[in-house]
Amino acid sequence: MRIIIKGGVWKNTEDEILKAAVMKYGKNQWARISSLLNRKTPKQCKARWYEWLDPSIKKTEWSREEDEKLLHLAKLMPTQWRTIAPIVGRTPSQCLERYQKLLDEAEMKEGEDDQGQTSEDIRRLRPGEIDPDLESKPARPDPIDMDEDEKEMLSEARARLANTQGKKAKRKAREKQLEESRRLAALQKRRELKAAGIELKYRKKTKGMNYNADIPFHKKAPAGFWDTTEEHERELREKKDQTNVLLQKLEGKRRSDIEEAERKKDIKRQKQRKEKGEIVPQAALKALDEQKKVRTERRKLVLPAPQISESELEEIAKIGYSSEKLISDSVSSTISTPLSTPLSTPRLLETPRSQLSGGKTPVRDEMGINTPMSTNNMAGGETPRMERARQNLIRKQLNEQFSKLPKPKNDFELIVPNKEEDAELAKEDTLDIMEEDAEDVRAREKKQKEKEEAIRKKLQSHPVQENLPRPHKLEFDEILNQATNDIEREIALEMISMMAFDAKRNPYPPNQTFGKMEEADVIEVVALATSNSNIHDTKYTLEELEQANKLIEDEMSTMMKNIKIKNLNDEFEKAHQRIEKEEICIYDQKTKSSSYYPIKKMKKDEKIQYLKSQLELNRSKMSKEAAKARKLEKRLGIILGGYQNRGKRLKEDINEQWKLLEQVTIEYEAYNDLKENENKIIISHREEELKKTVQELEQRENELQQKYRDLMAEYNSLL
């Protein structure tokens, strides 16, 4: 590689380039400037500027004053040219040169006779030597025919210096130009399309994003009302204090945990099933399969016996195909079966053949002349056109045949059938056709039963219907004895008969017994009273009962008009209260019925027994309720404990603060009184007291002065 040593005499072109470059780049980018000059280093460029090209450098002759200054300063600061130079107003090298020159001149004046070498001779460059400070020498003028590389350098420098824009600015300008041309092209295109009658909607393309106007990732809300309840709910949910919530709760169950649980469950289920025997091991299944396989071996193919025997076949062969009619009429039915089977097996490599065409070469027989079967042949036409033609033909033929039919005669008679009969008939038909569902039958039967039951119930007396308590012991003679007059006796008899009736039909409880009166007696009595001996067999229908009810109601209404009793309910209440007071209701757990016993008639033991049981019952109830209450109390204690504690603490605080307030109030009052006192009385009092004493003292002083004066006079008089 060739080493280029930069340097050399400065040429005019180089100077000019340097000046222009400094104008552009300033005095700090010497490397950049030197890149314009092939033969100079940055240092040299800088030196050239500061030694020669700077316009502030004086290149005039040295004045006398300057010389004096220089000499003086050189003596003060020997060899410190850089310090001296700015004071003198020249460059350091200029100063040095001038100084040496002045010294030389002085030397010359001193020794004119000395004929040795002059200093000028000594300093002159000898051939082969290089001038050390080329920078401070005037430039060499340009030759008329400059070197090629010099020219190149000049043009390049000119181009670079002329370029006022940077890389980015250039790129931008180019992009702008391109954009403009594109826009123009688009405009032209649109205009031409418009001229051709094609209207294009011009949509302005938004380039990039307008950060002042647009919102990033903004999704516009749809028009119309927006249901915000959900949002509110969510907000509420999120608002809830979540500081005290476990992270696990917030995050929910983890997937792995759920899967683990599921797996466990699965294993458990599997185990259970195994225990139950629902699961059969795999090996057993396999064995079963194999067993089945053995059983389901392929059976022998059993074919029906041939319809045509060998001899017949031979005959056919003898006859040959001489007569087609023979085949089609008689034999074809027998022969076709064996023929079609082998052909129908699909052979993959062959093009599929339509089965119905039967392997025969299709004969063009549009008119149906050759084969009488052709009309039945559904796949008759090979092409759609032919098919259509055939259809048309058939239609035509049909129409012709229809036209030959005799014309219809419209002479019919309408007979309206009896509708009910018809319906019944239809019903029978449907019944015949459809068998009724077992469920329906059951439902129907149940309904029927219920209906019957209801009727039966209605036929019973009211106490039975309402399941009211009835006497266990039927003591009819007592009832009869209670009756005082005939009317009451009548009523009693009626009652007895009713009770007996009920007791017979619906004994209550099942072992209901008659009292002292035997059943026969009852019957007798009742029979006597009502002239009806067969009370047990009395049968009546619902209608009769209703009629009876109506009769009673009528009578009641007429009676109510006559009697003063307004409210039956009040009467009943009175009666009830009486019973409550006098009788004891005992509930029997076994029969689930309650019965009343008169207290008066109860023995002491029985009473105590009853009360004891009652107490026991209450006790058990009590313990149950108490347990419930205790549980509730415990829970409430947990719920309200915090509040209670807080309330207690607050109360304590209030007490404390109240005491403090009392104390502070006392202090306040005391200080207030003090202030009043001090302001009104004490200060003035103190002042007055002091004043008084001072005045007294003054008075005393005056008196003493007087005394002194008197004494003085006396003294003087004595002298």
């Binding site: 009360l611 309200l640 509040y643 209670q644």
Partner: protein, 205 residues
Amino acid sequence: MDIDKVIIDALPYIDKEYDDPEMKKYVDNLIEEELKVTVKKDTSELPETIELFENDEILKNEMERIKNGEPFPLLDTIRYRLSDPQDHSNVDEWVNAVENSEAQLEHQYNRLINLELLNKFGANAWRYNNFQLEQILNEIKQKVDDKKNKIVDINKERKYLQTKSEAKLQQLEQQWNENVSKVLEIEAACHNLEMEIKQKKEAKQ
């Protein structure tokens, strides 16, 4: 000496004697002695004894009990036990026992109802109560602060008034001192002069 006519003319912001520890001790001793001697006079105008609940026997007894510092008598829990009557053969006692049990049962139902109500409304009621208590506490605190601030203000005022008159008092005191010294001087001079006159007179005689 009649106490009512003595004007206590202490001005604590001016009189600094009490700051001196010995003086303080002396003063405190004096106060203690005085307190020993003086009989406390009850200035309260309230009647000494108040008869409360004169018409209500139970409340009166209760007041008496609290005055005497007796503990609250334990509740009679026998009837809650629902025990059998002592006399097993007495029907009336049995009836009483059953009736008592029914009453207790009713009471238990009442208790359950109350608990249910508490369960439903208790939390809210407590919260409300606590809120009210908090309000009261805050009010009282505010009052205390107010009073404290007022006390500070009053003391400031007192100090201001006292220090305002301090200059005048001091001036008067100084005057008094001067006057005293003057009087003494003059008295001394008088005395000397009298002595001299006496001597002269004696000499003459």
